[in-house]
């Protein structure tokens, strides 16, 4: 009996390993393929000969990408956006979550504010009103249009708030008894205790900023100001030329798969580099705050 159970559970484990390995390979395959394409010569890449190993190995594609002013400019815009946008997000998330984590007895009107935020999370003004607001504020074509409209990620605020609530009240009370102000309590007690949550939410915010493309499309009326993902999207989307006049520019676009591969890789690497550093917080962070007492 016992041996049989062991066998079946072993079989199950074995199957799990095989299944998960296959699944992981499946997820990795497109990335490996693009990487191989980006290191291949133009002709075999466009002819579709490249699978998982580069043919006509060359780093020319990367040289082209790094030498292109358009690409580098959009890359720098994205970097600036991630740095300023993420800092702003985190500052506002912490400052908003702290008072909201208090009970209505401590913070009068807390529920009203909470509803206000939840409402804004569930409903937004829609595309055109947002555009009109941003335009009237004179933010079109500025970095501000990318970071201000979503400066307070409300979902992150709720996660943060729940995390703060898990911090033992006794710590806060003892600090207050010692005469600390709320600023001091937040800075010396809550923030050091919440680093896993802060790391996780920072990662969320950074990835969101890095991958966002739609707001760039809408708020940048001059396409010289596109952040990288918006720029990449305009380059990578395949053209349908059936009804459109052929322009040599478009032909170029259709036949430069290798270059596009290199662009995709260059666009992915920064976020890949950030992940390992935040990974350990990421796993413990996301479940913390999920359970409330």
């Amino acid at each position: 009996m016992i041996r049989e159970q062991k066998l079946s559970s072993r079989l199950f484990d074995g199957f799990n390993y095989i299944f998960l390995t296959a699944f992981a390979i499946l997820c990795l395959a497109p990335m490996v393929h693009i990487f191989a394409v980006s290191l291949s010569g133009r002709a075999p890449a466009t002819a579709g000969f490249v699978s998982f190993f580069p043919l006509d190995f060359t780093i020319e594609n990367y040289q082209e990408v790094m030498g292109s002013r358009t690409f580098l400019r959009s890359f720098m815009i994205s970097v600036a956006r991630v740095l300023t946008g993420t800092s702003l997000n985190m500052a506002l998330v912490i400052l908003t979550a702290y008072p909201l984590s208090k009970t209505p007895r401590v913070f009068k009107g807390r529920n009203l504010f909470m509803w206000f935020f939840v409402f804004a999370m569930l409903f937004d003004g829609g595309l055109i009103p947002s555009f009109l607001v941003v335009r009237s504020l004179g933010l079109l074509n500025t970095l501000g249009s990318l970071i201000l409209p979503n400066a307070v990620p409300i979902f992150s605020v709720i996660l943060m708030m729940n995390f703060f609530r898990d911090v033992p009240k006794e710590l806060e009370e003892s600090a207050l008894i010692d005469g600390a102000s709320h600023w001091k309590v937040l800075w010396f007690i809550y923030i050091p205790l919440s680093l896993p949550a802060i790391a996780t939410l920072t990662l969320f915010a950074a990835v969101n900023h890095w991958n966002a493309w739609f707001d760039g499309l809408i708020f940048m009326t001059d396409n010289a100001n596109y952040p990288m993902q918006t720029f990449l999207r305009t380059v990578v989307v395949e053209l349908d030329l059936t009804n459109v006049g052929i322009d040599p520019r478009d032909l170029q676009r259709l036949s430069d798969r290798a270059i596009r591969g290199a662009q995709i890789i260059v666009a992915t690497v920064p976020i890949l580099v950030v992940y390992p550093f935040l990974q350990r917080y990421f796993i413990s962070g996301i479940k913390l705050g999920a359970i409330k007492e």
Binding site: G41, R42, A43, P44, T46, A47, G48, F49, E64, V65, G67, S68, R69, T70, F71, I128, F131, L132, R135, L217, I218, T221, D222, N223, A224, Y226, F231, R233, T234, V235, V237, E238, L239, L241, T242, N243, V244, G245, I246, D247, P248, R249, D250, L251, Q252, R253, L254, S255, D256, I259, R260, Q263
Partner: protein, 596 residues
């Protein structure tokens, strides 16, 4: 045009200028005829354009001078006028330049007095341009000049009376040659969208003529291998394709050779089969006049059934790829032509730049040639006519006061850029660079922006009227090729300037591209089957059109692949007529007869 003029041996060697005049005599005569009777609007002097704003390189040892056309009357306007416009992009600029400040805009401001401000820009992404125009409409902030407005937006603007009627201004100031004459091809085909109820509501968006007109591209080395010559009839085409397949000449695995490249659409822009339908005088998807002068829908004509029968037999014999109906046109270019599994494709002139180069790179022994499309059993030789009019329009905001200035500007630039005699080749330092020692112009490499996927010719970003907006003369490219071959080629080698040298000759494929381009344009108006239905879709088309089209595509593919019997064509015709086709025919003819 092409013959060399006899030269008197006793004469001294003519100078370059003499030679240009001599050999270009026919062209010059043509130009004289064109410009002889220009109205006084265009007869003004050159004005004072500072030398540093001039394009061209007159001071280099082997440079050239660009002739600026006469400045339109009343220009440059004083004080300068600021006009807002929407533009396509993205392009790269020289250091310190941006879209509002380039060589182009600086020269333009000096010539016209117009200062262009960017309202918004987009790349060629279809969704993106709609998004941007919708935002402009919603925020009630239309630019003065709107570039390549998609039809959907254009219709919306017309409905809400937001577009300026430019008919009268056009008649008064449009350039007689580079605007009025350039857009007079095909019985007013240029104006199919821009003109509404006889009023001009905008300017047409035209591209190169015969751009998608097919030629028969074929592997010369394979023809040699099977001992056959360039096919001129459908039967010969079949014999050659069959020979290629039987000899298995392709470089893929055994038995992987395909006879003729075909894609998921029989009538498409690359690896198309439209010349085969054309050989029976019909074109699927097109409306052509019948004997009574009514328009008829070609896809339901009995000739189509004959062609489908032929294609069905060819498919069964392995002429087409087993899965051809799943391939998009670029996939045939790279996966079949480029991969050298196929030696025949019916594709436009630009195949020499798209598909063929990959073929030669992957197999250096590949030699391509092109010929005319094959003739059918009764000697008919036709193909789908490619309309150079793109389905978007340039228009002006309702109430905009300076339409005349913009039209004059567009005419001036069109003349500068499109008349080969003016020797416009861009601005030194941004469009081309001077190589110090050899004295040759680096015409492409230095500013080719491969990373963004665009040919980074910065001059593309000129104001309206320059190449970036659109060509006005659909034969522009062909005129240039002819000019190079008929005028420049006759200049003695030691007297050619650097640009001439760079653009005469070239590698085998680029010469072939020039040949094919000229050939296609020469056959453009005569060999094309033109779709005569050139307006917005009718009511029933909007409702039932897409399902009818799906049915048609499915039936045709199933017949060719043997999934359905050939006689299923008859039931398709029946279904088409009852499912809205008859009503569509009535609506189309109502429009057609109302036109005349």
């Amino acid at each position: 045009m092409n013959k060399k003029l006899p030269r008197d041996a006793s004469n001294l060697k003519p100078s370059r200028r003499d030679f240009l005049r001599l050999s270009g005599a026919s062209m010059a005569a043509m130009m004289m005829a064109r410009y002889g009777g220009l109205p006084s609007v265009f007869a003004q002097g050159m004005g004072d354009i500072p030398a540093e704003l001039h394009p061209g390189s007159p001071n280099n040892p082997r440079g050239w001078t660009t002739n600026l056309p006469p400045i339109p009357e009343g220009m440059p306007v004083d004080p300068p006028v600021t006009i807002t416009g929407s533009r396509r992009g993205p392009w790269e600029f020289a250091d310190g330049d941006d879209i509002e400040n380039t060589n182009f805009t600086r020269l333009n401001a000096a010539v016209t007095g117009i200062i262009w401000k960017l309202a918004f820009s987009w790349t060629d992404n279809e969704e993106e341009v709609l998004q941007k125009y919708n935002l402009a409409i919603a925020s009630n902030e239309l630019p003065d000049f709107m570039e390549t407005v998609p039809l959907q937006i254009y219709g919306e603007l017309l409905e809400n009376d937001l577009v300026e009627d430019i008919t009268d201004v056009w008649d008064a100031v449009a350039h007689p040659v580079w605007l009025k004459e350039a857009w007079s091809f095909g019985d007013g085909a240029a104006w199919q969208y821009a003109e509404v109820n006889g009023r001009k509501m905008g300017l047409p968006h035209t591209e190169q003529a015969a751009q998608n007109d097919k030629l028969l591209w074929i592997r010369q080395d394979w023809l040699d291998a099977v001992g056959m010559s360039l096919p001129t009839t459908i039967d010969e085409l079949y014999a050659v394709a069959k020979a290629f397949v039987d000899a298995d000449l392709g470089s893929g695995g055994e038995g992987s050779t395909i006879g003729i490249a075909a894609a998921n659409n029989f009538v498409t822009w690359y690896s198309s089969l439209d010349p085969i339908f054309g050989a029976w005088g019909v074109m699927p998807g097109s409306w052509t006049p019948d004997a009574n002068g009514d328009l008829q829908y070609n896809s339901v004509l009995p000739e189509i059934k004959e062609v489908l029968g032929v294609l069905r037999q060819w498919y069964a014999e392995g002429i087409f790829a087993r899965d051809f109906f799943t391939l998009r046109p670029p996939q045939t270019a790279f996966g079949q032509i480029g991969a050298n599994t196929c030696g025949i494709t019916m594709s436009p002139a630009f195949a020499a730049l798209f598909g063929l180069p990959d073929s030669v790179t992957n197999d250096p022994s590949a030699r391509w040639t092109f010929g005319d499309i094959p003739a059918g059993p009764t000697g008919i030789k036709k193909k789908a006519w490619s309309n150079p009019v793109v389905d978007s329009v340039f228009c002006f905001r309702k109430g905009f006061e300076h339409v005349d200035l913009v039209l004059k500007q567009i005419g001036w630039w069109a003349e500068l850029l499109q008349n080969p005699e003016n020797r416009y080749h861009g601005f030194e330092g941004t469009d081309y660079y001077w190589r110090n020692d050899a004295g040759e112009v680096d015409s492409m490499g230095a500013n080719l922006d491969l990373a963004s996927g665009y040919d980074g010719n910065k001059h593309i970003w000129g104001p309206p009227g320059t190449n970036g907006s659109a060509l006005t003369e659909p034969r522009f490219e062909t005129n240039w090729i002819k000019h190079r071959r008929e005028v420049w080629a006759n200049v003695p080698e030691d007297e050619r300037d650097a640009y001439m040298e760079a653009f005469l000759g070239g590698d085998e494929l680029s010469v072939m591209w020039d040949d094919a381009n000229v050939f296609a344009v020469d056959h453009w108006e005569a060999d094309g089957i033109r779709n005569h239905f050139t307006t917005f879709p009718t009511r029933t088309m909007e409702r039932a059109g897409s399902s009818l089209n799906d049915q048609e595509a499915e039936t045709f593919v199933n017949i060719v692949t043997g999934e359905a019997s050939l006689d299923d064509f008859d039931s398709f015709v029946e279904n088409w007529r009852n499912g809205g086709g008859d009503r569509i025919t009535d609506e189309v003819n109502e429009w057609w007869h109302g036109q005349i």
